[in-house]
């Protein structure tokens, strides 16, 4: 089975909020110094989903990522988990794309790679989190779509997929090829190990430009973007933390209980 996984590099969300700063002028996030960007959490689960299918049914996993040259790192991460090859889509017209632009570029790259049975994306990105790219991509490629998948089984050339709902889940069946967005309920992604790490270090990761994938620049014209962000802001949070003390931690705990009992 041939699987293509779309991954994105994002600022590490596991940082203390004090390190999270935005530039309201440029409407961008200021990368926290000294904290390397990471693979977006849902995208890592999408790679995990692909690896589980490959474990069972054999096949090939190809990873693509739009980003700066640094995005090579997330592609390498995916290879270290079990993907076979990867490409980075890096070009000036690929910067600051909206969901349609992103889906268009991914679609062009996927058409160039060709020969796929399944395309996986994370359900949304951990940074801008528009939550649309996978669905728009399915429409562009004319593929059946299953969103928020957390269990993907292949039965008789059809996929049987569990997708998460707010208070339960749904089992759906969909023909091959298909596109799915993956949710975190799939469980922990595997840790990179031995062979994968070695392969990831050695693997050549080609960089594709707009002309390499036959992307039409007029499709990426920012003045024609479907959506535009006019402002970003961090809501004000002003709390004062009252520290409760006591002769021992147990005394402090008793004092805390006395305070809280009046509030509940």
């Amino acid at each position: 089975m041939n699987i293509i996984v779309c991954v994105k590099q994002v600022p590490d969300p596991e940082i203390p909020p004090a390190k999270f700063k935005i530039d309201t002028e440029t409407k961008k996030v200021i990368p926290p110094p000294g904290v390397p960007p990471v693979i977006s959490v849902y995208d890592e689960r999408a790679v995990e989903a692909a690896c589980r299918l490959k474990d069972k049914h054999k096949g090939k996993i190809t990873v693509i990522s739009i980003g700066s040259e640094k995005a090579i790192e997330v592609v390498r991460h995916a290879i270290s988990m079990g993907a076979d090859e990867g490409f980075v889509l890096q070009d000036e017209p690929f910067e600051n794309l909206d969901s349609f632009g992103t889906a268009y570029v991914l679609g062009k790259a996927i058409q160039k790679i060709g020969n796929y049975d399944l395309i996986l994306c994370g359900r949304q990105a951990a940074d801008w989190g528009a939550g649309q790219v996978g669905s728009i991509l399915a429409e562009i490629l004319g593929l059946p779509l299953v969103t928020f998948a957390f269990d993907i089984q292949l039965e008789d050339k059809r996929f049987k997929v569990k997708r998460i709902l707010k208070d339960g889940y749904e089992v759906v069946e969909v023909p091959m090829p298909a596109l799915m967005t993956v949710s975190s309920e799939i469980g922990l992604p595997r840790l990179p190990a031995g062979m994968g790490l070695m392969l990831a270090r050695r693997k050549q990761i080609p960089i594709w430009k707009a002309k390499d994938i036959g992307a039409d620049p007029t499709q990426l014209d920012k003045t024609k973007a479907h959506t535009e962000i006019t402002e970003i802001f961090i809501p004000k949070r002003e709390t004062h933390c009252e520290l409760i003390t006591g002769a021992t931690p147990a005394d402090a705990a008793a004092n805390l209980a006395l305070k809280l009992i009046k509030l509940i």
Partner: protein
Amino acid sequence: MEQYKGVLILGEIADGKLAPITSELLGIGKKLADELAEDLSVLLMGGKAGGLAKEAIAYGADKVYIAEDSLFDEYNSDAYTQLVANLCQKVLPSILLIGHTDIGCDLAPRLNGRLGGGLAMDVNELSIDHTTKLLVSTRPIFGGNAYARVISKTARPQMATVRSKVFPPAERDESKQGQVIPVEEKVDPSAIKVRVIERIREEVEGVKLEEAEVVVSGGHGIGSAKNFEMLWELARLLGGTVGATRRSCDEGWIPVTRQIGQSGKVVSPKLYFAVALSGAMSHIVGCLGSKYIVAINKDPEANIFNIAHFGIVADYKEVLPALTAKFKELLSAK
């Protein structure tokens, strides 16, 4: 672009009635439509949709589109996308509002892909810009640590999925008049590729996280699955439940369904105990709506103290048992 007019709401039906989100959408939709001096419409789908038309009109709809077909009683992504896309291409709404529900989260982005509109997801503020008359949607970015205002200059419809319980429900007016329009087009069965086999509602034991008044959450500092029992004791005593950070779930100490934060659940209890957790950005977005946050952490520099209302700087193992014991004493005296 001028041919696009009016506000269209995607109605949802639950237990044979208009779902709460639908009356909320009608409420905010009416406000937007009035500002534009345009019509408010709603689409209702399902075998018994027609019976709810009057109700939708009383809630402010000028037009109600009815797709009365039991095919729509259960959500199917392919069928819904096709029907709603066809209707939008016919009636050309300027604004399309959908609930940020199970249905909306799946349908809206795909519909947007088909229609070529401009969509903002999980919106908690909506307004019309006075000069441009464009819809301005506010949505969370970076897991809710910041917000963005989004517009669509030329793409139509301007779409938003709207978070539940943010907007007040529409006011009812029994004397309101409106038009009921049947949707005649049928869905092409060959376009239905995804087949729903079953839908399983999971019953959560005890109090639901999202509805709990007290949540006791444990971070990586808890150290083991067994130690979570201490958190459960306090939670049970106070009629609440237990949550966790992503790292605790990743360790396998507690099921991932209890994860709070960016890739987990969002809770807003009266009392949120943050135990042995540092307060990473991805976690706190899941608990900021709590009325009181209580931090217990041995690291006085931990970020959680910046957002907490009360705090104890100490090893939680020395605090929690004493805290539970004192509560027990106080509650039995009540």
